[in-house]
Each structure stands twice: as structure tokens, then as C-alpha cells.
């Protein structure tokens, strides 16, 4: 019941989406505030953000540097807790999950692509891509290996499986990071400027990859980008300014 109420509260954004109104909301943010408190200053990174993301949507987020985009992604990705407000995942408030359940949710439902890749330098490309499956029970070593190979194949890096991250270019590292997100086969991909460090051709390729994933597999994608062209290829664009949604 609460679910329906919540949906109607955020209706203005939902109608703005090109998506059918019948689609289920996977992520709902209500009155999310995030304040960073340091000794000297208080930074309001997010200011009363309301957002609903439906199953199968491809949403892009734009805004100037420091406006809170990465903060928003880490809250959606259950990596950070808001100072106030409610997050619901599949209609269930996240506060009610235990640490263990949250870890399982991150592992199974969500795939991250970070602004700065975040590969483990002491692990080979293949081992890096296997990581999310390592934290999933019931996936054997062989299956891990196969799925990691398949994911690397999708990003065109199957020839570099035994390299270490330091031996790769920035674009290749970002593709490894994407392969890592794909390997877990998540319902939601949260991508923080996935093409920020790539040239336009490579950026185009990554974008096509994400679009294909969204269309063919129905993966819900939330992507932060600085590229207007890319943003317009997605179904919905949300603009941020100083911690607030402006559009």
C-alpha cells in the first residue's frame, strides 16, 4: 500500500519518463539528504532528492562537478547511507536490511562502474573480472572463469586476460571495469562517467554496449555523464545542480 502512495508522490518525474506507467519501480528515493560534516565546514551534497527509477530504464544524470552525482550513485548502490530520507529497493525500505543482506544485494542486483575504474592492481584482468562472482555462493571456479571470459569477450578484451591493470591503457581499464560489472549479470548497473576517460570512438563503443545491455537484457542502468550526446541516447535525463534536481 505504501508503495502506491510513494509512487504517486513522485509521479511528476515518472510521467516525464518515456517508460510505461505500469513498469515497476526498482529504486525509489524519497527526500534524500546527504550532508558531509567535516571539522570546518558542512557540505550539503544532496538536498531533498526524490527519484524513482523503473525496471528496464536507462537514466542519465548530468550536472557540474561537485554537484553530488557520485554521492547519489553510492546511495543508490547501497554503499552509503543518506543523512535523512528513505531509499526503497523493490518496494522495501533499505533500512530494514542487515549488513549481510545489503552485501548480498550489492553482489547480486547491482553492478558498479566507477569513475576511477577501481581495479585491484595485484590481480590479473581475469581475476578482477571474477571478483563479484567470488562473493556469490554457489558459483564454482569453472563457472566463474567461463563467465569472466564471456564478459571480457563482450568488451573486446579477451586477448588481455592475463595482463595486470598497470599494463593497460585507461580505456582498457575502464572496459575491464565494465566487464567486471557484466560478469555478475546484475539487474541494475550504476555507471559513474564510464566513458569519461575514453576517446570518442571508444566512448561510442562503450555507450553502444550499455545500450545493447539495456535493450536486450533489460538491465536497468543509471549513468553519470558529461556528454550531452550520450545523455540524449538514454530514455531519461536528470540534471543536477548543487545537490538538487533541476529537471
Amino acid at each position: 500500500m505504501e508503495n502506491i502512495l510513494a509512487q504517486s508522490a513522485v509521479r511528476p518525474q515518472a510521467t516525464a519518463a518515456t517508460l510505461a506507467a505500469t513498469a515497476q519501480p526498482v529504486i525509489q528515493l524519497r527526500d534524500i539528504e546527504k550532508v558531509y560534516q567535516t571539522k570546518t565546514i558542512e557540505t550539503v551534497a544532496l538536498n531533498r532528492v526524490n527519484l524513482t527509477i523503473h525496471k528496464g530504464e536507462f537514466v542519465s544524470i548530468m550536472g557540474p562537478s561537485g554537484c553530488g552525482k557520485s554521492t547519489l550513485l553510492s546511495i543508490i548502490g547501497l554503499l552509503d547511507e543518506p543523512t535523512s530520507g528513505v531509499i526503497e529497493l523493490d518496494g522495501r525500505p533499505v533500512q530494514s536490511y542487515s549488513d549481510k543482506e545489503l552485501a548480498a544485494l550489492r553482489n547480486q542486483k547491482i553492478g558498479f562502474v566507477f569513475q576511477s575504474y577501481h581495479l585491484i592492481n595485484d590481480l590479473s584482468v581475469l581475476d578482477n573480472v571474477e571478483l563479484p562472482l567470488l562473493y556469490r555462493s554457489g558459483v564454482g571456479g569453472r563457472e566463474r572463469r567461463e563467465r569472466a571470459y564471456a564478459a571480457l569477450d563482450k568488451v573486446g578484451l579477451s586477448a588481455r586476460t592475463n595482463h595486470f591493470p598497470s599494463q593497460l591503457s585507461g580505456g582498457q581499464r575502464q572496459r575491464v571495469a565494465i566487464a567486471r560489472a557484466l560478469a555478475g549479470n546484475p539487474e541494475i548497473i550504476l555507471a559513474d562517467e564510464p566513458t569519461g576517460n575514453l576517446d570518442s570512438v571508444m566512448g561510442e563503443e562503450i555507450m553502444d554496449l550499455l545500450l545493447g545491455l539495456n535493450r536486450q537484457e533489460g538491465t536497468t542502468i543509471v549513468m553519470v555523464t558529461h556528454d550531452e550526446q550520450q545523455a540524449h541516447k538514454t530514455q531519461r535525463l536528470i540534471r543536477f545542480f548543487d545537490g538538487s534536481q533541476v529537471q
Binding site: L79, K100, A103, N107, F112, S116, L123, D127, Y135, R136
Partner: protein
């Protein structure tokens, strides 16, 4: 997950090699200290082979008196023996239990068998009644030995085993290295660990010397077994008697119990000092390990954040760090054990094998406890690192 740990450790082999080397070296130091402590404890638990309680030691000094010293001593022994409260009196060399003198030799031969380094004591027929050595074969000296052609000796089991193996020692004739002297074994005692409470059970041999002999004189030490509970009154009485019989020889008295305490204190001092040094060393190693782990975790904050993002629980993170430490420690300890096992294999100190085994187990246990203690807090900190904050570190 275990394979993942090994992969991580292997890929970080340079940093881990140093850590492993530190663990190996500290294991080795712990092993040597343990070896010393375990060996002392092992010796301490061995039978002493004699009873030092209620035995008093009198050192008499004739000084300038040169008139019939031997006759005087003989009379003195008779007088003391006749005193009520005295159970037995023996006349012996100065290497009494817990004294600071000893005599040893490896001159004895039996056929081609060369004796180990053997502690040698002068003893008379009465000694067994004073010190209560446990005779396990043959007999102690008595009047029958007066007619012996070879000097009668009593040996301990350690000596008997070294010289005669499984054969019975009693009746065997020993010679010296030049084959000019002969001794005949008349009895075997269980043990005689008289140097101090931590003394090893070394080969020992008692040679019969009696005051009735005309030759071989020079011992001025008397051991007196008194009735339990005897005190200052008897002591005064005995000293007066000595003065009366010897007409002014110097005499001083100690109980073996006092001497034992003195010797124990002297033995314990270096052990305690070594223990302290070992303790400080361990503390140092612990602080070093702690620092390394702490640094390690602060270096790997981004990795911790990433793993959390990919589905690791806080507990999983701390288990990973503990697991890495466990693997590195196990590798270091394995190296240390390979080194340590050379001691018994090469027979460096000639200690019993169970002493080595116990020292190895003790050192292994200590080093694992040490690393566990050092790794626990940093691992817990790692578990508590906030993933979103960690992911901002690069």
C-alpha cells in the same frame, strides 16, 4: 576464496616476502628461547637421584696444623656419627651437591668404548646413607671392597648405558686411556643431578676413597645427615665437637637446602634475563607486525571499498585480512620449522628429541598467537571501513 588468497599473496610476493622473513626470524628466536626454557624444565622434571634434605655440609680446614690430619679426621667422623640427632656422616671431595666445584674426565675406556665426559666424585661407604642415592643394580661400596684389586666405582645409569649398552654394568672393568689404571664397577645408581636443579642427567662415577686408606688424602668436606627437624642447637653442638676434636681447625656449616637455593638463584638470573630479552624482542616483533598490517590496510582502503561494493560483508573483509596473515604466517613458520629441525638432525646441542618437539610446538603456538593478536585489531578496522569513503581514496 582460499585460492584467491594464495593468488593475492603470490602477486604481492615482494611485500609478503619481507613479512614472511620477519615471521621466520622471530619464529627462530622464539624457538631458541623455547628450546632453552623447555630443556631446563625437562631437566628440572628428571629425577635428582639423591635426597638433599636434612643434609649439612661441614668444610673443615686444618690450617697450619700438620700433625696427623688423617687420624684427626677419622676421629672426627666417629665423634660426629656418635652424636644423637646425626643419622650418617660421609667424607668426600669438595664437589658436593650444589657446590661451585666439579671434576670431570673422559679418560675411561671399556674395550674400545670411550667414555663420555663424566663427573667424578670421591665417595666412602657411608655416602649412600647420607645422600640416599637409589642403587638400581649391584650395590654401594662396603667393607668387601677393602680387598679389591681394582679401584671400586659406582656409576649412574647414563654412564652404564653409554659404556656397556644393554649389558649389565656390574663387574665390568674400566681402564684409562693409557691402560695403566683399572676400576671395577660394583653398582649402578639411577641418577645424580647434583650441580643444580636444572642440571642435565650427565654421566657420573663415584670412586671409593676411605679414611682407613693410607694413600690418597686431600678431601676436607663432610656431609652429615641429621634427623628431620634438627636446628641451631644441634649445629652448635656439632661445631663445638669439631673444635674439641680437631683442637682449633676452622669449620663452617651450610645446609644443602641453602646451597641449593643459592645455586638456583644464580642459575635463574641469566634465564630471567634471557626471558626478558626474548620478551622485548617479541614485543618489538609484535609492534612491527602491527605496523605493517596497519600500513597494509590503509594502503588497501580503495580495495576494501571495492570489495564491499562487489558484495563482501565487513566480516568477509576482516576474514580475508586474517586469512592472508594466516597463510603468510604458515609459510614463515614452515620455513622456520625447516631450519629448526636441522638442530636435532645435525645433533647440535644433543638434547632429547621430545625437547626439540616441544620447543617447536611452543614457538609455533606463540607465533600464531602473536600474529593473530597483531592482525585482529587491524582486520577489525578494515571491516569497519566505510565503503563509500574508501572508494574515494585512490
Amino acid at each position: 576464496m582460499i585460492r584467491h588468497l594464495f593468488t593475492l599473496i603470490w602477486n604481492r610476493k615482494r611485500a609478503n616476502f619481507l613479512l614472511m622473513a620477519e615471521i621466520l626470524l622471530s619464529f627462530f628466536v622464539l624457538f631458541v628461547v623455547s628450546l632453552l626454557l623447555v630443556n631446563n624444565y625437562h631437566n628440572y622434571r628428571q629425577p635428582k637421584g639423591f635426597a638433599p634434605d636434612n643434609v649439612w655440609e661441614f668444610n673443615v680446614d686444618p690450617g697450619q696444623d700438620t700433625v696427623d690430619r688423617k687420624g684427626t679426621l677419622r676421629r672426627l667422623v666417629q665423634e660426629l656419627q656418635a652424636t644423637p640427632g646425626v643419622a650418617a656422616v660421609t667424607w668426600t671431595s669438595s664437589n658436593t651437591p650444589y657446590s661451585f666445584s666439579n671434576m670431570n674426565t673422559d679418560q675411561y675406556r671399556y674395550k674400545d668404548q670411550k667414555a663420555p665426559l663424566t663427573e667424578v666424585y670421591d665417595a666412602d661407604d657411608e655416602m649412600v646413607r647420607v645422600l640416599g642415592q637409589k642403587v638400581v643394580a649391584g650395590r654401594w661400596f662396603d667393607r668387601r671392597d677393602d680387598a679389591a684389586t681394582h679401584t671400586p666405582v659406582v656409576v649412574n645409569q647414563k654412564f652404564a648405558e653409554a659404556m656397556f649398552g644393554q649389558e649389565s654394568a656390574v663387574g665390568k672393568v674400566l681402564t684409562d686411556d693409557k691402560r695403566t689404571r683399572q676400576w671395577q664397577v660394583v653398582g649402578v645408581i639411577e641418577a645424580y643431578r647434583s650441580g643444580n636443579d636444572f642440571a642435565a642427567n650427565e654421566a657420573a662415577l663415584f670412586e671409593r676413597h676411605v679414611l682407613q686408606d693410607t694413600a690418597q688424602y686431600g678431601n676436607n668436606t663432610l656431609l652429615v645427615r641429621v634427623q628431620p627437624g634438627s636446628g641451631a642447637v644441634l649445629e652448635q653442638q656439632l661445631v663445638r665437637k669439631i673444635k674439641a676434636v680437631t683442637k682449633g681447625w676452622d669449620a663452617n656449616v651450610n645446609t644443602l637446602a641453602e646451597n641449593r637455593q643459592d645455586k638456583l638463584r644464580i642459575m635463574l638470573t641469566p634465564l630471567v634475563a634471557l626471558g626478558l630479552v626474548g620478551g622485548f624482542l617479541i614485543l618489538n616483533v609484535a609492534l612491527g607486525l602491527f605496523g605493517v598490517l596497519w600500513y597494509n590496510i590503509s594502503q588497501r582502503k580503495a580495495e576494501i571499498g571495492l570489495r564491499r561494493a562487489l558484495g563482501a560483508t565487513g566480516r568477509g573483509i576482516s576474514r580475508q585480512f586474517l586469512g592472508e596473515m594466516l597463510v603468510v604466517t604458515t609459510l614463515g613458520v614452515t620455513g622456520g620449522l625447516l631450519l629448526a629441525v636441522q638442530f636435532p638432525l645435525l645433533g647440535v646441542f644433543g638434547l632429547p628429541p621430545q625437547v626439540y618437539a616441544l620447543a617447536m610446538s611452543l614457538a609455533t603456538l606463540l607465533i600464531f598467537a602473536l600474529t593473530a593478536i597483531c592482525a585482529l585489531q587491524p582486520s577489525r578496522t578494515a571491516a569497519g571501513i566505510h565503503p563509500a569513503v574508501a572508494l574515494r581514496e585512490e
